[in-house]
């Protein structure tokens, strides 16, 4: 599958990280307790941050750790605590639904794999030289964000405000009069 792959430090690191991410993902699926599921997603997020680093997106890797592994995971835990945090997924009779879901998900994965590996698409060969060589990643992002993408940037801030207000309104207890 990965024939002709030179065993270098980078590849080894990649496989370790990839294994870690997938393992955490599988744990997410297989754990019984909700709280463990939420914790395993934190592993996935941190693994993803490492992958970002390998892809030379240092800024995003940090954001990933801060936002996902930090804020979002904690928020999840809060939400779980607020609801039935000790709930264990009850074993239930096997129905057709998960089977079909597995077939669908696997089929989708196979389609993508086929496209990636066997469809004969010539993927661009990875250049050993980084296109961002010698450039400050944060500076690049900042320049692009405030020149070319300033309007989407502002729009996103509006979306955030709306989501914030909406979330507060939804979660707020209705006053009973």
């Amino acid at each position: 599958m990965f024939s002709g792959l030179a065993i270098t430090g980078q590849t080894v690191a990649f496989f370790v990280i990839a294994l870690f991410v997938i393992a955490c993902g599988v744990m997410l699926l297989s754990m019984k307790k909700v709280i463990y599921m939420a914790l395993s997603i934190g592993g996935v997020f941190i693994g993803c941050a490492a992958v970002y680093l390998m892809l030379e997106a240092e800024f995003l890797a940090f954001i990933q750790v801060l936002l996902y592994a930090g804020a979002i995971t904690i928020m999840m835990l809060f939400a779980i605590m607020l609801t039935k945090h000790d709930e264990i997924e009850k074993p239930e009779p096997i129905t057709a639904h998960p089977v079909w879901a597995a077939i669908g998900a696997a089929g989708f994965g196979l389609v993508i794999l086929w496209v990636v590996k066997f469809s004969g698409i010539k993927w661009p060969q990875a250049t050993p030289d980084s296109p961002f060589q010698g450039q400050d990643n944060v500076k690049l992002i900042g320049e692009a964000l405030f020149n070319q993408y300033v309007i989407p940037f502002e729009l996103v801030s509006v979306v955030l405000i709306v989501a914030l207000v909406g979330a507060i309104t939804l979660a707020n207890k209705e006053e009973k009069n």
Binding site: H97, W100, A101, G104, G107, F108, V111, V115, S119, G120
Partner: protein
């Protein structure tokens, strides 16, 4: 001034919109003031235009492009000719008075404001009809006045008779409208224009863009078709049945719409489009015969009717018959002249009748009237003037115009029509004075209490009566030999004569007067001095004729059997087909969908994850199909 003629219909339209905005609870005083002022303004402008036309003659139409369909351009606009200047003046004059009169007559009615809205809309439509320079515009306003007539006849829609009468008026005139519509379409197809001037040129040159019929036959066909429209609107035999029933409407409506203006629209149309009819002698003959029949037929029915408004209504039909007959014998000036004088004295008669009806608590049966002269002297006088004018007694208006028509009929060589007209004149004099004597003389035959309380209405009702009486006296002089036939010269606009004009024959005028006086005399003998007992005659030797006349020659019954019944039966059959066949097919699909959905609804189980899964599998199938079709990733 002529270029401002468009103002005249605008006034009532603005009044209509104003009243519409004010709503139905507007105060009576405000409503009346707005309406009367608008009509009065229209009248003043009409007078100015009339004098302008009198001085300068007709002007070219003012038109603007309305819309372009393919290569055909339709235009709208207005024109002023002597004929429609006269019509404008008459319509606005009578409208003003009727609007004023209605204040008294309709006082306290819950839908007072609505009544005025309808009246204003009608006046607008009628004026629009009169100043239209092309047939398309005429048709639009033609239908509008029909609509207003429907609304106003059915104004008291809670009375079943009124609702039925409104429907009848609408449906019967519709038969005529279809003829008119076909005629107009044919004219457009053949000449490529709706404009009067263009149409007349084509008819004169007899050049038409159709080849399935010879030009002469085409002219006759079109003329007859347009005349059918006029027959419907002007209540000519055999489409006359709606007009007497239309008397279910409020009396001011009868005076304005069903005596003076709208019913004259048919006559006006024939007069305005006279070159079309003139080009076809056959069509003229038909028109003359129809007019003559209508005149005598309605007069005979009028002899025996007991409803005061119906008698006047039949006299309207009869007089319209006169006008149409005059057009049929090419007595154009006489016809339009009679149109004008008739408008005055018939509006007068209706309003006077309305005054009587109003005074005795909306009773219309002359068998329960009598002796009202003492109680309603002014109404009595004005009714008498109207009756004299209608009978054709000199020097009242009707005498001069009716005389002209009889003269035209005689001189055209149509002796039959002349004799018919003369008999009709006799009947007319008889029945209108029958009404007069039974209403105003003798003893009151209704409830004593009603008689005690009967009194002359306020000035809003008497002023219109007086003004119309004056017109009913003097209007005839306009075209008398005493004024050197001023009206004729005016209506021809100083140009060449339209139709035929004859010198007055004094012996004929004398004969007509004698005939009318004979009618009045007979009426006097039967209903005033009682030297002849009408009851004995009706039940004696003349019984079949009496019954025939009383039952309106059974025309309504004939229509009921010959037309209404079969149509209703066809309706039943079609209803059955619609209910079981058409609806059946629709229901089949409906039921099928319903039954199918009964099973399919369980697929909507409310589980978001199921939906997601189905979406995923569907997407996979689509991707697979797309890849298979394209052959991989391209």
């Amino acid at each position: 001034m002529v270029q401002n003629a468009w103002l005249i219909p605008l006034f009532p339209l603005v009044a209509y919109l104003l009243l519409f905005v004010l709503g139905r609870r507007a105060q009576e005083g405000i409503v009346t003031a707005i309406s009367v002022l608008a009509a009065l303004a229209g009248f003043i402008v009409s007078l100015l235009i009339l004098s302008d036309v009198h001085a300068n003659g007709a002007s070219a139409p003012y038109v603007f492009h309305w819309l372009t369909v393919g290569q055909n351009t339709l235009s709208m606009g207005f024109e002023v000719t002597p004929l429609n200047a006269m019509m404008l003046t008459v319509v606005t004059f009578i409208s003003t008075l009727v609007l004023l009169f209605s204040k008294g007559y309709l006082h306290g009615d819950a839908r007072y404001s609505v009544f005025y809205q309808y009246l204003n809309l009608f006046i607008f439509s009628m004026l629009g009809l009169v100043i239209s320079p092309n047939l398309l515009q005429v048709y639009i306003f033609w239908e509008l006045v029909g609509l207003c007539s429907f609304l106003l006849v059915g104004f008291w829609y809670f009375k079943p008779e009124a609702a039925a009468a409104a429907k009848k008026a609408f449906i019967v005139t519709r038969i005529g409208d279809v003829g008119l519509f076909i005629g107009i379409v044919l004219i457009y197809v053949a000449t490529g224009t709706f404009e009067y001037s263009g149409v007349f040129e084509a008819f004169e040159a007899k050049k038409f863009a159709i080849d399935w019929i010879t030009p002469d036959h085409f002219i006759t066909l079109v003329a007859i078709l347009m005349f059918i429209g006029a027959m419907g609107k002007s209540a000519q035999f055999p489409l006359h049945t709606w007009l007497p029933d239309a008397m279910e409407g409020p009396t001011p409506v009868s005076a304005l719409i069903h005596a003076a203006t709208m019913v004259a629209a048919g006559v006006y149309l024939v007069a305005r489009a006279f070159p079309i009819f003139e080009a076809s002698p056959d069509a003229l003959t038909v028109i003359g015969i129809i007019g003559g029949i209508t005149a005598i037929f309605a007069a005979l029915i009028g002899l025996t009717q007991n409803d005061i408004k119906r008698v006047v209504a039949y006299s309207t039909v009869s007089q319209l018959g006169y006008m149409v007959m005059a057009l049929g014998v090419s007595a154009y000036a006489a016809s339009t002249f009679h149109l004008m004088t008739h408008a005055f004295f018939k509006a007068l008669l209706f309003l006077a009748a309305g005054s009587v009806i109003h005074a005795i608590h909306h009773n219309q049966d002359i068998r329960f009237m009598g002796g009202l002269w003492k109680k309603l002297p002014l109404t009595g006088w004005t009714f008498l003037i109207g009756a004299l004018a209608l009978s054709g007694i000199p020097p009242f208006a009707g005498f001069w115009s009716k005389d002209e028509i009889l003269l035209g009929a005689l001189k055209s060589g149509n002796t039959t029509l002349f004799v018919l007209g003369l008999i009709a004149a006799f009947c007319t004099a008889f029945y209108i004075f029958r009404v007069f004597f039974m209403t105003f003389t003798g003893e009151f035959r209704g409830e004593k209490e009603v008689y005690e309380h009967a009194h002359e209405s306020g000035s809003v009702m008497t002023i219109p009566l007086v003004l119309l009486s004056i017109m009913a006296i003097v209007a005839g002089l306009l075209n008398s030999p005493l004024t050197d036939h001023a009206f004729e010269h005016f209506i021809f606009g100083g140009g060449e004569e339209i139709g035929k004009v004859y010198d007055t024959e004094w012996w004929l005028a004398g004969l007509a007067t004698v005939v009318a006086l004979a009618g009045i005399g007979l009426s006097y003998l039967m209903y005033k001095s009682k030297s002849i007992n009408p009851e004995a005659l009706a039940n004696g030797p003349l019984r079949p004729f009496y019954q025939l006349s009383l039952n309106k020659f059974y025309v309504d019954e004939l229509y009921h059997v010959a037309i209404v019944k079969p149509v209703v039966w066809i309706g039943h059959i079609l209803n059955f087909i619609d209910k079981w066949v058409v609806d059946g097919i629709v229901h089949l699909f409906g039921e099928g969908t319903y039954i199918g959905s009964l099973g399919l609804k369980y697929s909507q189980n409310g589980q978001v994850q199921t939906y997601g899964l189905v979406t995923l599998i569907g997407a996979l199938l689509l991707i697979g199909a797309a890849m298979y079709a394209v052959g991989g990733v391209k």
